[in-house]
Structures are given as structure tokens and as C-alpha cells.
């Protein structure tokens, strides 16, 4: 299978030059390679998207998909996995989507450790609503809703994911497609909750990000021990999502560990429910009331 076979004929309405095109390409490449390597079955892939610029990826990938509500990508992913444990469930969320409206779901998704992958398009603004600050926007950012400057420090989503128990934590850069593709493949192959923070600098409402990232992004060295939680945490704190001064911005796998997946707590969850023909033993289920 070729990556372009995963595309659709829908008109792409991202701004010309938007780094989201890079994410789309990496996703197509990662999924087609995984399919060619027989690591997944394309008909069993199910995507979930939220609302925001990122969500448009739903229309550009020719795969089963659920374009849900703003902020609610992760509960839908979780429900899909409970509904059919054979599905390869992949969530795409925006940073506002995931860390403002849906932050409680993210915290709990890290705890649950369901076998799903969550990729967050981090552009540090609510772009599709014309550029308001979000939970990952740097302090001092001025926009339509914060003319006096954003008052709070941003959430470091990598630290949040690590502290809340995510078992695969990575960061990619939308403009480094081949590297991002490798991260996506690793995340999807990982058994448990995988989180990739994808830096996707908005070229309209957060213009200073792209030159900064092009200058400061570096790949995490091979010597980084991905099974060392404290090393991962220290690496995650190297950049605080601000732009005041130059600081190295690491990309790559920060942490990977293994623990029982969410789905394993139900011995009855083995096959897709829709393949089970249920028969009710009425006299058996009513016996306790006699």
C-alpha cells in the first residue's frame, strides 16, 4: 500500500504552508508502512478527531473516522476500544481541544492506559477561532481575548503526561516529517496509552514559533534512557513552551514503559461486541427476584 492511497479527494482547507500538511503526510506514511509490515489492518483503524484546525484531518484520511466534539477526543477513543478491542484507535486533538476543554479526559486517559494513541497538534493558539490564547500558549501572548497579555504559564503537556502515568511519551515536529513518521509508528505499535506532542507552529496567529523552533529543535540523543522516568522528566522540562530566550527543544521518545492495559481489567472484553449473538436466559436472570 502506498501512502497516497490513504488520502481522500476532499478539498484541503488548511492555510497554504500550514505544518498540518506535514502531520497528514507523516500519518499516511506511518500507517501505510505499518500496514505493509502487517503490524495493523487498515480496515481496523479508527480515527477520532476533535474540533479545531487539527480536526480537518478527519476528511483527508480515507479511514474509519469519528469527528466528535471539541475537547472530547479521548472519551470517544476509550469507548471505541471498549466497543471493539481489535480496533487500532488513533486520536488527533488540538492543544486547546486537549488541554483546555478536554484536560480532565487527558489526565484520566494517562491513568487508564488504554491501548490508544493520542497525537496533539500543538500550535499554541485556538487558530480556527482566529487566534485566542490556549492552555499551552506562552505567558505574555497578546491576542483578541488577552489584549493585556496572557497571564498564566503554559501547561507542559509532556510533564503532565509523564506525571499522570502515560506509558509512551514523545514529541515530534511537524516540519521534520521522516522523524515524526518514526515516532508515530512507535506510538501506534506501543501497547498502552501513547502520547505525541506534535509541534505545529501556526503561521497566521503564532508566527514567531516556526523560526524559533527551526532554530532550537533537536533530536534526543541515542544515549537518553527512555525507561528512566527521572531522565524523561528532566528532558521534558528543557523547554517550557515559551519564546523569551533561546532554549533547546528536544524531540523524540522521552519515555516508554509497560503496564497492564485498561482493557485487560475486563475478562469478558475479548471480541468485538457486534460479533456476539446474545441470548437472554430470562428465567435465570429473573430467579433472584422470586
Amino acid at each position: 500500500m502506498k501512502p497516497e492511497e490513504l488520502g481522500t479527494k476532499e478539498e484541503n482547507t488548511w492555510c497554504p504552508g500550514c505544518p498540518n500538511f506535514g502531520i497528514l503526510n507523516s500519518a499516511k506514511e506511518a500507517l501505510s508502512e505499518l500496514a505493509n509490515e502487517e503490524k495493523l489492518s487498515v480496515k481496523n483503524i479508527a480515527l477520532v478527531t476533535g474540533i479545531g484546525c487539527h480536526g480537518k484531518i478527519y476528511d483527508y484520511l480515507d479511514l474509519n473516522g469519528f469527528n466528535g466534539l471539541h475537547g472530547r477526543v479521548l472519551p470517544v477513543c476509550l469507548g471505541m476500544k471498549l466497543g471493539n478491542p481489535n480496533l487500532t484507535v488513533i486520536g488527533f486533538g488540538g492543544d486547546g481541544d486537549t488541554f483546555d476543554e478536554g484536560v480532565s479526559h487527558f489526565v484520566h486517559a494517562c491513568r487508564y492506559n488504554a491501548d490508544i494513541t493520542m497525537m496533539v497538534h500543538t500550535n499554541q493558539v485556538f487558530a480556527l477561532t482566529t487566534g485566542q490564547a490556549n492552555a499551552v500558549t506562552e505567558k505574555g501572548f497578546v491576542d483578541g481575548s488577552t489584549p493585556l497579555g496572557q497571564g498564566e504559564n503554559p501547561i507542559n503537556s509532556l510533564v503532565l503526561a509523564l506525571e499522570m502515568g502515560a506509558t509512551f511519551v514523545a514529541r515530534g515536529y511537524a516540519l521534520q516529517g521522516p522523524h515524526l513518521k518514526i515516532l508515530m509508528k512507535k506510538a501506534i505499535a506501543h501497547k498502552g496509552f501513547s502520547f505525541i506532542d506534535i509541534l505545529q507552529p501556526c503561521i497566521v496567529y503564532h508566527k514567531h514559533a516556526m523560526p524559533y523552533l527551526n532554530k532550537n529543535v533537536y533530536k534526543i540523543a541515542e544515549t537518553h534512557n527512555i525507561s528512566d522516568f527521572n531522565q524523561a522528566l528532566a528532558k521534558a522540562r528543557e523547554w517550557d513552551y515559551s519564546y523569551e530566550k533561546d532554549s533547546p527543544v528536544p524531540v523524540g521518545v522521552f519515555y516508554q514503559t509497560s503496564r497492564p492495559i485498561f482493557e485487560s481489567q475486563w475478562p469478558q472484553l475479548k471480541t468485538p461486541w457486534h460479533t456476539i449473538d446474545k441470548k437472554t436466559a430470562w428465567s435465570k436472570i429473573t430467579r433472584e427476584f422470586l
Partner: protein, 534 residues
Amino acid sequence: MEKTILIGGAAGLGSTVTSHLIGKVFCSLGYYVFNYRDYPSLIRGGHNFNILKVSSNPVYSHEYHYDFILALDQKTIDIHQKDLKKGGLIFGTKETEPIVQKLQGPKILANDVLVGLLFKHFGVALDVILTATEKVFDQNADLIKKAVAEGYRSGSQKEKLKISKPKYFISGTEAIGIGAVAAGLDIYLAYPMTPASPLLHFLAKRQLENNILVFQPENEIAVINAALGASFAGAKAMVGTSGGGFALMAEGLSLAAMTELPLVVYLGQRPAPATGLATHTGQGDLKFALNAGHGEFLRVVLSPGDAQEAIIRTQEAFYLSHKYRVPVILLSDKHLAESNYTFDEINKASLAAGRFILANPPQDYQSYEITPNGVSPRVVPGQGPIVRANSYEHNNYGHTIEDGVWAVKMQDKRFKKLDFLKKEINKLNPASLYGKGRNLLISYGSTKGAIVDALPQMRGFRFLQISYLKPLPAEIILKEIKKSGKVILIENGVKGSLADVIKEETGLAIKHKILKYDGRPFTPDFLIDKLKKI
């Protein structure tokens, strides 16, 4: 025979479990029992009580005059003694304490001493009580059985019971639970909220034997979105909550309608606004159930009047939701959910519990195919074709659209189901008539119990119970109202919302209303008294 028994005590002393045991024993002897539960929102202390009405004839309600008061503390006697009938008996700590001390057991054994005393009064054989006790308490039953036996020995027989065929004793919650299982439930998701939590417990406890999955996500927003994810994946999903949680689900309900994914929502009402009276009953969420969610979309709202109806209506909820791909709200309340009802038999509906999923889907499958009845054939991911669910307005393939032509097509498609739904619902007894008379009582839901029990004591009244609130069986209601003298709405609420709903759909105003909004259900006495004044 007709007896009313109150058992009360501080929370944690055991009145609920004991009332259930007493009810079970009477049912095993062939009697009809209605068990009403009244408790505040606290875990230890306060005052909880249950009222058991026991009768040789079917009974669906309670009263506040007692033949027996079984008191686990002095407070119970202080509060309820004034309502003891002439010749009524009180068994309290005076009777239980010496026995509990003799057995050197925990204070909670007082319950079992009371059970022994009560059934000795009726001359029930000790082994019958002990067998029922064993069924209720599978652990530590030895000491409990000893306490029952000691209580039995210390009492004296004053009456004799006629024994007949054992009856089924079931709460509204349990009925909804087995109705859901009979309908082929796969996944139940809920965040705790009284009075819906007992359903979460009931299904969770029985998940392995019934091959269902039960999970409590982080909040109600997660609950409804996860349920839709599960539904998309092909599972039969149900969520449960009360008014506050349902408010959080409102956006998800709108999503269910837009994505046309089957979903059953169990809404157990309690008095509101806000936290309201958390452990009490009310019907103030009718209009909310009918209107929750942004945008204009189809839904079904149905409401059972007792536990037997709850089984059938729950099955219907699943059937309609899956056949028509619409959200269905099963409207209950604390009174239905937490009361126990008695039936000679409990039956399920003979509805097909099918999944309504295409077995051999075409490769060029359209998730939102426009069909004559508006229902697109359903396929789930993994079957082969691409399956889409979209919260944004979409075309037949589920791709996002912006143009007005598709928007109109899809809005019309979704509403096209209404006529077909109406026809289907007309076959499901959407409204039921009880009694004979020129005057008409109208109500829905749990108020049925007190009304049908009051009806034989009133002349000239019949009762129209409305079970489908959306789509409303307007023709039936119109016909019945037009041929009646006085028409009276009965509702556990402040304003009588059902009257507004009926007016909106039939144009007819209902002048008389009997409303109760103290958080407590109607009793036949209360209704008869109020009706005399109209």
C-alpha cells in the same frame, strides 16, 4: 389482609436491607408488597425509614399509617408513633437490646431480632424466615440467623397468614437492569449520581454472568462521549444519570443525534434546580428531557410507571434507538428506581433484540445514505467499508460539508424518521387507560402507583397514563380529554410540565392540577383528599 409496616433508624443501622428481607418473606408466602424508601443524603446518622405495604391484593403504593413500627432507635418511635394505627404495635430497642446483649453481637443484629418478632406475630414458620435470611446475607449468616431465632422465640403469635404462590419482588432499578440485559446491552457507562447509581451497581455486579461491560468514567461528559465511541464501534451502549449529570451530557446528546449513533440514556429524576433534594423524588426534568441539547433533532422519551413496565420500556428504548438510529431517553425517578414492586410473574417484551447492523455491507458504503425512511443502513468499523461519524454537517459519505444544499438534505433526512417512529410507537401502547368514569386523571411515570391504588376508592374517574412523551400520542390524549368532564393533571413537580407539553401538541389546556413538590411521592390518601377539593 392488608398491613403497613414502618422500619426506621439512623443511616447504617440497616432499615433498607431489613425492609427488603421482610418484603421477600411476605412475597415468598404469596403476598403483594410495595416497599417505599425514604432517606436523607448522609451515610451514618440521620433518620432513614422504609414503609412496606403488604396485601393479599396487588399494591403499588404506600401510606403513612402503620400497623407496625419496627424501630432501630428511639428517634424512629418519637417521629412515627403519632401515625400508628389503633391497635398497632411497636417493636423497638426495648425488645431487641436484651437479645443483642445476650448474643454479644454487633448492634446491627437488632434488625434480625425485629424480623423474628414480626414473623412470629404472623405465625410464619421459623425455617421460612431463616431460608430467606440466608438468601439475603450470604456471609456471617449464622449469627444473624441466631438473632432471628431469638427474636422469634421472644415474640408471640397473634395472627395467621394464608399462604399462596410465591411472587416476584423487584425494584424499578433492577427492572431496568434486566430489561437492558434482555435487550442485548453490551456496555453500561455511568458516573455516580442518586438515584441512578443503583443501576450502575446492579449491572456492575452482574457483568460477568451477563457478558456485559460496566465502567465508571471520570465525568458525565466522558460517559456520553465514550458511549458514542462504543456505539460507533458496534456495541449496544447505555448511560445513566440524574438531572445534573444529564445537563453535562446535553452536548453529547446533540452529538448522538447528529452522528445518528444509537444510544439509550437512563435519566432518574430527583428534585432540582441544582443539587436539589439529592435522595428524594420529583418529575421536574420532563421538559429538560424533551428539549436538552442544542439544535433541532429527533429523540424518543419514554417513561415506565412501575417495575414491570420498566422492563418492557427499557427493551423498547434499545429497539427504537438501534432501529432508527436516534437517542432514546428512558425517564424514571427516585420513586420508581428505589421502590420495590410485587408481581405474579415478570415478563419481557417479545421485541427483537437485533443489532440492526448490515451483515454483508457494500464496499461503496455510505454512512449517511439518504433512504425513504431516513434511516441509513448501519455498518461498523472492521467490517470492511470506511465508516464515518461526523459532528459537523456532512454528506452521504460522512464527509464535512459547508454548502446549504447538503445541509438541508441532511436535516430533512434526520427528521424523515419521525413519521415512521410515530407509526411504530402507536403499536407499543404509548398511553394506557385505567378505570371508568367521566372525569380524567392524566399523569406519567411513577405516579401511576398511587393513582391506580386510589382509583377504586374514587367514583367517576379514569386514568390516562402517558408512557411515550416524545413522540407524544397526541391523538389518543385529544380523544380522551374531549370526552371527559373534569381533566386533572397529577405530577410530582412545581408547575405541572406535562400540561404544557399536552397543550403544545393538542392545543388543549388542562385547568386542574394536583402537584406535589416536597420531594416525596404521592399516596392514594393524599390524592383522594386533593380530588375532593376540585
